[in-house]
Structure formats: C-alpha cells, structure tokens
C-alpha cells in the first residue's frame, strides 16, 4: 500500500504526459475561443430573433435553438462530420468541424443568454428611453444593451466553461485536443491512472480560475 503510493508518486508518467497536455490544451483552448467567439455572433443574432415580433424570424430561431439544445453535442458533431459531408459533399477539416460544432452548439445557448439578458432589464428603462424621445433602436443601443451585456457576462463565462469541456468529445472525430491525446497516451502505454489525473488537472487549471473570476464578477454586479 505504502510502497504503491511511493511508486505512484515517482511514476515517470506524470512528467511524460506533460508535453501532450501542453499541446492538447493549446488546441482545446483554440477551438473553444474561436468557437465561442462565433457562437456569440450566432447567439446574438438568434437571441434578437427570439425577441422579434416577426413570426418567421422568431420561428426559425426557435427551431434552431430547440434542435441544438435538445440533442447531445456528440450527436451534433457526428452529424456535422459524417452525415453532412456524405449528403452535401462538404468536407470540413476535423478542427474546423470542431470549431463549427462549438459555435453552432454554444450559439443556441448564448441566444437564450442574450434574450434573457435583454428581457431582464426593467421595462421602466425602455419606457424612460422612449419617453425622452429615443427611437426603439437607440433605446436598445444606448440604454438596454449596455446594461444587458453586463448581466450576460457571468452566463457567457459559464458557457465558455461548458464549451471548453464539450471539446473533449471531439476525441471521437479525431481532433487532437487534450482528451484525445491523453487517450492516445493511455492506449500506447496501457497506464491509466496518471494520465487521467493529469487530464483532469488540465481542465481544472482552466476551469477553476475561470469559475472564481466569474463568481467575483457576479458578486460585483450584484452590488
């Protein structure tokens, strides 16, 4: 038992996995950042579409959001990577497919964040804006959006963390992100414990500070 522990501590695999962690995490972060960035653009559009009085715009956005939120991102990735390419002859590179999957997936959740953020602003703000003569779009731009965006920061940060974790499933469409590389390591060495501990740490190193920062922001916004 005690010997086992010392063996474990001295295991070479802690160090040996490090290069893979580094390389994989870089790709993980890259996909997440770029994916969430485009997800924000998609989400803002879809979020405003959900606030629209135009039934068609509202309907299209709703279908998109519900389809995405109703299915696992793994299935979305499989669909995008395999089914779409077969049926429409579009072949994304694996990393591109990963970025698209994150953007499309995060976009649906961000749409709801945007809608919720805008709706959370007290109706009185809009009325005050309109009553000094601002147009509807000026009111959105100068009054509602700046306040709404501030409130959206914590849930957006949270979506970033979710998307970061979601990239782990891209192991199955062969994106060389961190989970993929560490599984490779496990397959090649038949050692499981150390690599998976290191893999968990790789995520925690990003997510825990991110969560702490978010909580701090949230607290400041509350006051």
């Amino acid at each position: 038992m005690f010997d086992g522990l010392i063996d474990l501590i001295n295991s070479p695999h802690w160090g040996n996995t490090l290069p893979f962690i580094r390389r994989g995490l870089a790709l993980t972060l890259y996909i997440t950042f770029v994916g969430v960035f485009f997800g924000f653009i998609i989400g803002a559009l879809a979020g405003f579409a959900r606030l629209s009085k135009n039934k068609i715009i509202y309907g299209v956005a709703t279908v998109y959001i519900e389809l995405i939120r109703g299915t696992p991102i793994l299935v979305q990735a499989l669909f995008l990577y395999f089914a779409i390419s077969q049926s429409f002859g579009i072949n994304f590179q694996a990393v591109t497919a990963g970025i698209i999957a994150i953007a499309v997936n995060a976009g649906a959740y961000i749409a709801e964040i945007v809608r919720g953020g805008v709706e959370s602003i007290d109706k009185g703000q809009k009325e005050a804006g309109r009553s000094i003569g601002l147009s509807s779009s000026q009111t959105m731009r100068y009054i509602i959006w700046p306040q709404a965006f501030k409130r959206m920061i914590p849930p957006l940060g949270n979506q970033f963390i979710i998307s970061l974790k979601d990239t782990s499933i891209f192991a199955i469409i062969s994106v060389g992100e961190v989970t993929f590389l560490l599984r490779q390591y496990v397959s090649s060495t038949a050692v499981t414990f150390e690599p998976y501990v290191m893999l968990s740490l790789a995520y925690l190193v990003i997510t825990i500070p991110a969560m702490l920062i978010l909580r701090a922001i949230e607290r400041r916004l509350d006051v």
């Binding site: 390419s85 993929f180 599984r183 397959s187």
Partner: protein
Amino acid sequence: ACGDDEVTVATDTNYVPFEFMNTETGEMEGFDIDLIYEIADRVGFEINLEVVEFDGILAGMETGRYDIGIAGMTITEDRAKVFDFSDPYYDAGLVLAVRADEEEIQSIDDVDGRPVATRAATTSEDYLVENTDAEVRLFPDIVNAYQDLIAGRVDAVIYDVPNVLYYIETEALGEMKTVGDLLTGEQYGIAFPADSELRAQVNEALAEMKEDGTYGDIYEKWFGERP
C-alpha cells in the same frame, strides 16, 4: 491525384504495431505508417494524416471524407461493396485471448454466455455476433478491452492476432495468454472511396516495394522477421 497534391489519410488511433502514438515524440508510427509514407513518396503526394477511431475510419471511407484509409483493415465483402481496397498487404486472422490463469476457457467453444470484449465495428465484432452466444462488450479502443479482461470484467477478448501478440509481449506478459487456434484467416488492405484514381497508383507502388525489398525491410522492422 498526382504531383504534390495533399491527400487525407485516415489511420487508427491505436492498433499496435500497425499504428500508434510514440509517447516520446508524440508522433504516429507503425507498420502502416511507414508503408503509407513510402507509398506517398513513390506515387508523389503529401500526406495529411487524420487519426480517427476505427469506426470513424469506416464511416469516413463510406462518406468519401478521406482519400485513403490505412488501419490494418480487413478486406471484407461488405466493406468492399461500399468502398474499394488495394491489393492485400498483410495476412492476419483472429485469435482468442484470456487471463493468464484462466482454465475454463480453452477455445472459442467455451465462451457462450460469458462476457467477451472486442473493438466496435471490427471483424471481431462480426465474428462474435455470428459465431458465438457470448455476451458482447464493445469498446472504441481495443486497449480498453484488454484492460477489462485483466480487471476481470470480461472473461475473454477476441481480436486480430498480431495486435494480441504484440500487446501481450509489450504490456501484459504473464497477465494474458492466447488459447485455441487461429479463428479466421484475414487479409489487410488499404481503403479508398469507390472509384478512386489513387488505387491503381498505390497498388503499383505496393507491388514495386514488394519487388525491391522495401516492403520486406519495413515488415522486418515491425515484426522481427521477413515475410
């Protein structure tokens, strides 16, 4: 495809000694890898290597996502209906593996009703389903099946003989053994989407390599003997 075209080659995440990641360098290596790079040299294309789980390679070949698939892939009738194979380049077969201290399972006839693991989407899965009444456990990664065997969660693994032997030798000496005869004879081929122009060129290169001994050199490097 000629000149310096980039060709997307799908290979398996882990199938020793045909393809696997070298944990020192982080690069993929193995018999298949050496072979395809040599072929690429001869035919004259650049390789864009995509490392995919085995069922993903099949799906990708079927959908035309990849230009070439090389993954110790057995040539089967079903697969040949949807995509094309090169000439055979390696002879293998399936074998049953059990824990080193296993006494009850002596051959494939003893696995009925017991949990037996293999890898999803492979010829081993087909064999198990068609020829036994075993309780089939499927993993995307064959190493997980071996680990389940050693952990005692399954009683046997059935898989391609070169991989089983190589794994026993490198990772599981004294923990795993093979029992019974070779269950099937199989031949590996390189996969192409239907009607690919590359196929003829690759076949030509392969024949050349067998001719001039390059194939034998690579074979010896990975299997310790010449074909």
